[in-house]
């Protein structure tokens, strides 16, 4: 497969599978190398990077929710220069293109970053993250600054403002829209007893963002691809986004709960699973089956000694 996931221009990004991790879920480079076959993914999207180093958030960072969680990390990262220096070599050895997620803080910072990133061949494309609560003007100024990039520019829109920003962002130079960043919310931290704010993740996010994708696909100019991102937890979830008009999808926190799900989704949409032999063992079919399960199916009531050796 060869899927062009950004606008056809001088520069565009072609992936072999329309599935990739979402920014923030997968680390800067090879955190999941021991668990996921990177070759089966369409691309790597890095954690958000800023020009200057950012410290982690103080206080509560995770609040468990019913079938989900609230997360507030503060986007700790060592700053763009260090990130490039530290991960450049690893990126060049990956079998898939690297999309660097740039947190859009100010026009000046974005311009600086664009200048730096144009020199880094290991980065195939940039995803600009627009923060919530920007005015439309501020958001567009950031997209304009980023569109000076000589590589494809993806723009990830905030959840609540996504209607308002989608068309202007596409006109201002986004080569693809990523819909959307996780919605912000507030939950009570049981330990401190305080209400804390952060982003909300979980499968119930999906129907909301799926609807946004379906509607915006009808409104945004057809040459600007839309990448669906939000609450994907199964191959069917991913296919739903494709049916609603997305060219590709990003998988976020599902990877933390069940790392191989990302690969399973990617194999599914990438066409690696087309047929299944009658009576195939589960681990021949699902990449996330370890051999323990295969053994179990062969011998229904295993003893300790049958396993793991």
């Amino acid at each position: 497969m060869a899927i062009e996931i950004t606008r056809s221009r001088k520069y565009s990004l072609v992936v072999s599978t329309p599935v990739m991790p979402a920014a923030g879920a997968f680390g800067f480079a090879d955190s999941y190398r021991a668990m996921i076959d990177y070759e089966k993914l369409g691309a790597l999207v890095t954690n958000p990077v800023t020009i200057d180093a950012w410290n982690p958030a103080a206080g509560t960072r995770t609040v468990p929710l019913d079938a989900g969680l609230l997360l507030h990390t503060g986007l700790p990262n060592p700053g763009l220069r260090k990130v490039i220096r530290r991960y450049r070599k690893t990126w060049s050895n990956l079998p898939i293109p690297v999309i660097l997620h740039l947190a859009g803080t100010s026009v000046q910072h974005v311009s600086q970053a664009v200048n730096l990133l144009d020199e880094v061949d290991e980065v195939a494309a940039v995803e600009l993250g627009l923060s919530d609560d920007l005015t439309e003007g501020e958001a567009l100024a950031l997209v304009c600054a980023a569109s000076k990039l000589e590589k494809p520019l993806l723009v990830r829109l905030p959840f609540y403002e996504c209607y308002q920003l989608a068309l202007p962002a596409a006109e201002a130079g986004a080569d693809a829209l990523v819909l959307t960043a996780a919605p912000r919310g507030t939950a009570r931290d049981a330990h401190s007893g305080r209400l804390v704010s952060g982003r909300i993740y979980g499968p119930l996010i999906k129907p909301m963002i799926l609807r946004l994708v379906g509607r915006l696909r009808r409104e945004v100019a057809a040459e600007v691809p839309i990448i669906g991102c939000g609450g994907i937890h199964s191959p069917q979830d991913a296919r739903d986004y494709i049916d609603a008009g997305a060219i590709a999808v990003q998988v976020d926190t599902a990877t933390w709960a069940q790392p191989k799900m990302l690969e399973r989704i990617s194999r599914d949409l990438g066409g690696w699973i087309a047929t299944r032999r009658k009576d195939a063992l589960l681990d021949e079919w699902n990449p996330d089956m370890g051999h323990t399960e295969a053994l179990q199916r062969r011998a229904p009531a295993p003893r300790a000694n049958d396993l793991g050796k």
Binding site: G24, F26, G27, M35, L69, T292, L307
Partner: protein, 252 residues
């Protein structure tokens, strides 16, 4: 580190409060050492339908390894498991504890939490003739120690966290490992460090370690939700920990 499946081979009730699960694990987990942990999640029988509540994995510290591949986990007796259940495990998480080579006396502290993260070391240390003292503080004082090896000296701290002969115990110990309530770890560790500084002329490097038990969303260094500020650097609890030298920690 990888993902593998594990079976619950057997469940034993060790006392009124705790049960122990014996997990038949994949060989990648048979070299787990004291200080390392697992991130566990139940698996649905059909392997195809996933349940997403609870969402994140549980952090489990093994307390024993025997018969080659049976890892023992100690959990509250309230949690319901059945023998034969299948689990998905990510692990081993983190680095083994770094004991001093000439370790002779070790002090373990559990403050408002189960001492489970500190138990895996006991068999090998006792075999090496290391003297082990365990101090239980706050609600940890209710922890029933009857199933622990008799050689371990148990001390129940006072409400102000002090205990008899505290100065002596702290001087005697070559190393200290502490676990605290993950809800307010930094404050608890700061309290413990303050106690030590009040009772010892000097708290050297490689003396006092805190075992961190904060929620690990990914456990593999991807999400950066577990970053800790150590003197001079950001460290990942799940990759560089789970124990850190308390004197290097920025307590804010």
């Amino acid at each position: 580190m990888r993902e593998s499946q594990a079976y619950i081979e057997r469940i034993k009730r060790v006392n009124r409060q705790y049960q122990r699960l014996e997990l038949a694990v994949h060989q990648s987990l048979t070299s787990v050492l004291a200080g390392q942990a697992l991130l566990a999640r139940r698996i649905e029988k059909d392997f195809e339908s996933e349940r997403w509540d609870p969402y994140l994995r549980k952090l489990w510290f093994p307390v024993d390894l025997h018969a080659g591949n049976l890892l023992t986990i100690e959990l509250s007796a309230h949690e319901q498991f059945s023998p034969g259940e299948l689990l998905s495990i990510i692990g081993p998480i983190g680095q083994p504890f770094r004991f001093r080579q000439k370790l002779r006396n070790i002090l373990l502290i559990a403050n408002q939490t189960t001492p489970a993260p500190l138990l895996m070391m006991l068999p090998s240390l006792l075999k090496r003739q290391v003297s082990v003292t365990m101090v239980l503080m706050g609600e940890a004082r209710a922890y029933d120690t009857s199933h622990l090896p008799g050689e371990v000296e148990i001390i129940h701290a006072e409400d102000d966290l002090s205990w008899n002969d505290m100065v002596m115990t702290l001087g005697w110990a070559d190393q200290v490992f502490a676990a605290c309530d993950p809800g307010d770890e930094l404050r608890h560790f700061a309290d413990i460090l303050r106690l030590m500084r009040e009772r010892r002329n000097d708290v050297p490097l490689n003396y006092a370690f805190g075992v961190f038990q904060r929620t690990l969303p990914c456990g593999v260094g991807a999400c950066h939700a577990c970053v800790l500020n150590l003197r001079g650097a950001q460290k990942l609890q799940c990759v560089d920990g789970l124990a850190f030298d308390l004197t290097t920690l920025r307590m804010n």
